[in-house]
Chain length 690, copies 2
């Protein structure tokens, strides 16, 4: 057992493969920040871990106590608590059931017992989280139990306490594998260590935390500019303006060239939008159309199968990465493009047509299709990130696939799936594994559905309306056909008003969110995370997959269409209603009612919550006027994080911490410390609740 960092231990079994997440990662472990965490001893005795080779590959078995609950495995949309379940770490675009398949599967889990395990493999590894007792071990319990079920559900659910079991890990095709153990003592410590091992959390540009809007795929530059003007005229805050496949001359696969038909003067288009303080984001996937300028350069450095007639660039090779990053740098980043939406870098098995390359594909780097699938999204992110790094500019982008060790990439996951409950669960679960997720609003069955979905996306890492099938904004009409035909709601201005207030709410939250992301960068603490991560000793939190912590102090409990009330569990401590400051005692379940304009949000008592006056967009030189909401009589101080918002100079210490504090006798005070010469925040008021 090798100590690779404070609280991080490596065990090697057999001879591991060459192409693994750790081997291919460019992340630098954040030793300094790790050293700031507590020092303990290895969380698992290596003698308790068994390893064997099989004809299928290798099997690892680790102890699993009856009391443990297991979380993680990446962006799991179908389940939160994986105890007793089988999970296959396989990238897939449309996980239809609770199999482990995910846009961003991660072979990492964290236990309520306060430790984490990462298996360094790109293979489709299977975790059996205590699914079956060993032969003979549950005989007495089985003899004691009895029930006759009359439904599949009754018969199929485990009906006896299975006691202590094993975590069995099936790593196919390999001769050996490295396993990394992460210490606690708490679950949050474990996740922090995992994220710091991965290079720390990403810090998005400040504008990335504003509102995003992706426009109709068939829109031309005229349509796009009309919409851009409309948002500003009608005071709908939008920071990021996203173009869908129609911006390209050819897609699917991608030409990576502007459509002469729809965007004949794309330079003027970008300039115009940038001048209006929009950031422009471009959709693409990596499959390279024969008409692309990159085609012949990529041909020798691509896989042996085509996807949609395009090449699959071998992003595991520097040659391919250089071609790809260089092209994006010259043609897009230097032209004012702020980021990309990296589509279809996952894989497909469950949709109407199983596209993407086969697992048996071969790549010049020596990777096979299976390894490439599980790492393709990561390699794609790091390739494009390198283009932005080279000009010292931050991006905040979207990606449809990610995986292990991804926390430092400023790419936010999204999905073509669309169940609102799953989208909320995505926020909850992504925080276990160093991932960010946007519950994008893509369509709505009703105004209620639209508003409920916007509320969720506003309380998420990336607040996005993806209107790629709608020529007109969804607040004018949610029915796709009517929207295309220009048949709008009679009362659409009312709907727009609600949407505007939600967009403005997002803009108010930017300083708090930006400071929460700084925590992610400095300490590895996920800005969005499950309640169990903060309250691992409270069994009431073990199954809560419909509410989450946002930053240090806020607990968000979204509603879905059809709900007017829901149960909310508040953990240990005193809490206050975000909207009314009403006091609630923790360690209790509450039935909370909410009208269409609100969802249940709670703030820890004695919190100072900095809320900005909403701006229409986050300009490079934006300064936020802040009203500090004072919750409680003796609030803890709060550090607002501040820097230039767009470059990487914060890595060299160019940032401030703006300390705000308040006491009942002297009121508020503000202290700014740090090396960033500017100021992004003006504290203009202190609002004391009731």
């Amino acid at each position: 057992m090798e100590r690779v960092g404070n609280g991080i231990w490596k065990l090697r079994f057999g001879v591991p493969e060459t192409h693994t997440p750790v081997q291919l990662s460019e992340a630098r472990m954040r030793h300094k920040e790790l050293d700031g965490l507590s020092r303990n001893s290895p969380p698992i005795n290596p003698n308790d871990v068994t390893f064997r080779r099989t004809s299928r590959g290798t099997v690892l078995e680790l102890p699993l106590q009856a009391s443990e609950n297991i979380y993680g495995f990446g962006l799991q949309l179908k389940r939160m608590n994986h105890t007793g379940r089988k999970k296959v770490i396989r990238v897939n675009s449309d996980p239809v059931a609770d199999t482990g398949d995910s846009h961003a599967p991660v072979p990492f889990y964290v236990s309520t017992a306060g430790y984490g395990v990462f298996v360094d493999t790109a293979r489709y590894v299977t975790f059996y989280c205590g699914t079956n007792p060993q032969k003979g071990t549950s005989r007495d319990a089985t003899l004691a139990a009895q029930k006759l079920g009359t439904s599949e559900r009754e018969l199929y659910e485990k009906h006896i306490d299975q006691g202590n079991r094993n975590m069995s890990i099936d790593v196919p095709s390999v001769d050996g594998v490295d396993v990394y153990l992460f210490e606690g003592p708490t679950m949050k410590d474990v996740v922090q260590r995992y994220n710091l091992f991965s290079g720390g959390g990403c810090l998005p540009p400040m504008w990335g935390l504003g509102m995003w809007y992706r426009i109709y795929t068939k829109a031309d530059s005229g349509d796009a500019k009309r919409l851009a003007n409309l948002f500003r005229e009608e005071r709908m805050p939008i920071d990021v303006f996203g173009l869908e496949p129609g911006w390209q001359s050819r897609s699917y696969s991608c030409s990576f060239a502007w459509s002469e038909e729809r965007f004949p003067d794309h330079e003027e288009f970008i300039t115009t939008l940038n001048a209006m303080n929009y950031r422009v984001n471009l959709w693409e996937h990596a499959f390279t159309h024969p008409s692309s300028e990159m085609y012949w350069d990529l041909l020798p450095y691509s896989g042996n199968f085509e996807v949609w007639g395009g090449l699959v660039p071998d992003l595991g090779m520097q040659e391919s990465r250089d071609v790809f990053a260089g092209y994006h740098l010259d043609r897009f980043v230097k032209q004012g493009i702020s980021g990309f939406k990296l589509d279809e870098c996952d894989n497909s098995d469950y949709v109407q047509s199983n596209w993407s390359f086969p697992d048996i594909a071969t790549f010049p780097s020596g990777m096979d299709g299976e390894q490439m699938h599980n790492l393709f999204g990561l390699l794609y992110q790091s390739t494009l990130q390198s283009a932005f790094e080279s000009v010292g500019e931050r991006t905040y982008s979207q990606v449809r696939s990610s995986g292990p060790l991804a926390s430092s990439y400023p790419f936010v996951l999204y999905s073509d799936l669309y169940k609102h409950e799953d989208f909320i669960r995505g926020i909850v679960n992504s925080g276990f594994s160093g991932l960010l997720w946007t519950p994008e609003v893509r369509s709505a069955d009703s105004v209620e559905d639209l508003i409920r979905r916007i509320q969720t996306t506003v309380f998420s890492p990336l607040a996005l309306l993806n209107c790629w099938t709608f020529p007109n904004p969804p607040w004018m009409q949610v029915d796709e056909d009517k929207n295309r035909n220009g048949e709008f709601f009679d009362d659409y201005e009312e709907v727009q008003k609600v949407c505007r207030s939600l967009f403005e709410l997002r803009m108010k939250l930017i300083p708090y969110l930006y400071s929460s992301f700084a925590e992610y960068f400095f300490t590895g603490t996920p800005p969005f995370r499950a309640l169990v991560l903060d309250y691992p000793d409270d069994a009431n939190t073990y199954e809560i997959d419909d509410a989450y912590m946002m930053g240090e102090s806020m607990l968000v409990a979204p509603l879905v269409a059809g709900q007017t009330k829901r149960m909310v569990y508040l953990p240990l401590g005193t809490w206050r209603d975000f909207w009314t400051h009403e006091v609630f005692e923790g360690e209790n379940w509450y039935e909370v009612e909410a009208d269409l304009y609100h969802i249940p949000v709670f703030v820890k008592d004695n919190t100072l919550l900095p809320l900005a006056n909403p701006v229409q967009y986050v300009a490079d030189d934006a300064v936020f006027d802040i009203t500090v909401q004072v919750f409680g009589d003796s609030p803890r101080g709060f550090f607002l994080y501040e820097d230039d918002g767009t470059t990487f100079e914060y890595r060299e210490g160019k940032y401030n911490k703006v300390y705000i504090s308040w006491d009942i006798d002297h009121g508020g005070s503000v202290k700014r410390v740090g090396d960033y010469p500017g100021a992004r925040y003006r504290i203009v008021d202190w609002a004391i609740g009731t």
Copy 2:
């Protein structure tokens, strides 16, 4: 390349595994019948097959022409034509999408080009049926195509003709594999050869083709006898009376012992039911509860994990098979039990709880969990079949998992899934791979749904109402709660009347069906099969997954609830409406209307269709009074197959062929040829249609 039988060729690549379907099969190839088929040459040049070892296992690539269409892969419920798709041959109980997962996956496919390929492996082999062109091969076609989609479906479906590709076969974990090639020249010849290679088709006991009814799981012997009396009193034909889990003292897992509470005198119960000419069928699964008498005997011969607290007997070992078969022989077969319903021998990944043993399980035979999963249903069938073989008695049983080389087992597949369209597709697809499938009726949303589902099951290999959650017959009430509360339809006698007429229709069909199964036994021709198998040169049949051939002459096109009409394609030839004898010319699509009492059924012109006067049950000495329906003016003769109906003496030639013929001048004639001394059929009338 080795010739293993007429038109069957074996290619060996590398060093195959020990535990493969062929190695473990007890089926004896039917050389004599194979020799009766045509003689040709190998369908594929072995030099056109490439084989390579990879770190994941091995890959085979076979040529696939653009014009070929691919069918098979076992009981595929989600898709019929697999061309351009990826299929994983993995046993699973709840395939939620078109992935290849199946209760009965089979690594065998048949091409419209007139050949078949069987890969002899128990591994989760993946077939890429021409999913992706090789790099660079479709460049020109891709450059020529263009379309901008505005929906996922438009974007994701293949939008260019992909030309000639490969069938790529990914066999994981192995060092080598045997591949069997089956000649045509027609697709039906291919399937016949595959079935004769597997030992030929099964011949069920004659009673197995009657109606089946499985009763409420909590019913006791009193409830059961009341129901048994009711069916006879109310003249509802039922042959097989099935008991669900509640007959056992313990389940899940299984004690294989009668419940003292519900069946205190089970011997009297069986005797009573048998005396009423019911065959009794018992539900079970193989996972052996600690309270079972077999437990300690099976303990050393079982896998290393428990399922539902029970042992997993290693049915790959003779020791375990002997214990299991011996117990079933003594306790059940000799006591008058006619068959079993072998549940949960598949595996689970998509349901609410993933039970069954892990793929990493180990078994004393040397098999691992993956191999055991893909073969468990087969081994379970052959184990129980051996109990019936030992007393010379045929069974017709149910099983939830099957696989390769299964055609000789008289076990019919079923599923907990329930989409009616999928159930119809199951009938169509099972015929490609030597499988039988029952679209059981388990519940219904409405009377219409009940009747539509009964119509489908009546035209299937096993006509089953599985009322395990209903204390009272579904024709009295389809709502489960109301059924339990005794709240019946006001007009339930009307509903019952329709059901009775459908049950009687099934009973009328028994001689025709029995003769069709004899064809299955003697020639390997599936009694239920897709239209494309009979009409491979007609591209209109390539996607027809909602209609099928039943026996030589009938084409069945079921309806689902909500439909009052449907499109039916009639292939080459002249056809007649089964109900009215109306003439339809083939090679045409027809919109056919049907009331609730009928579904579209067509008979080839110039067919003699023997229909029996319906009996209430098929007693061992049953004799059928037959009216021969004469379709057309110059009908072909028909061979009615006849034997004792319950023993294996037919294998020694103890059967008759009853030749019926008709001509317009002399009317009908009957000629009986063979060594069976009895007579099961009396031709009482000839009905000449219009």
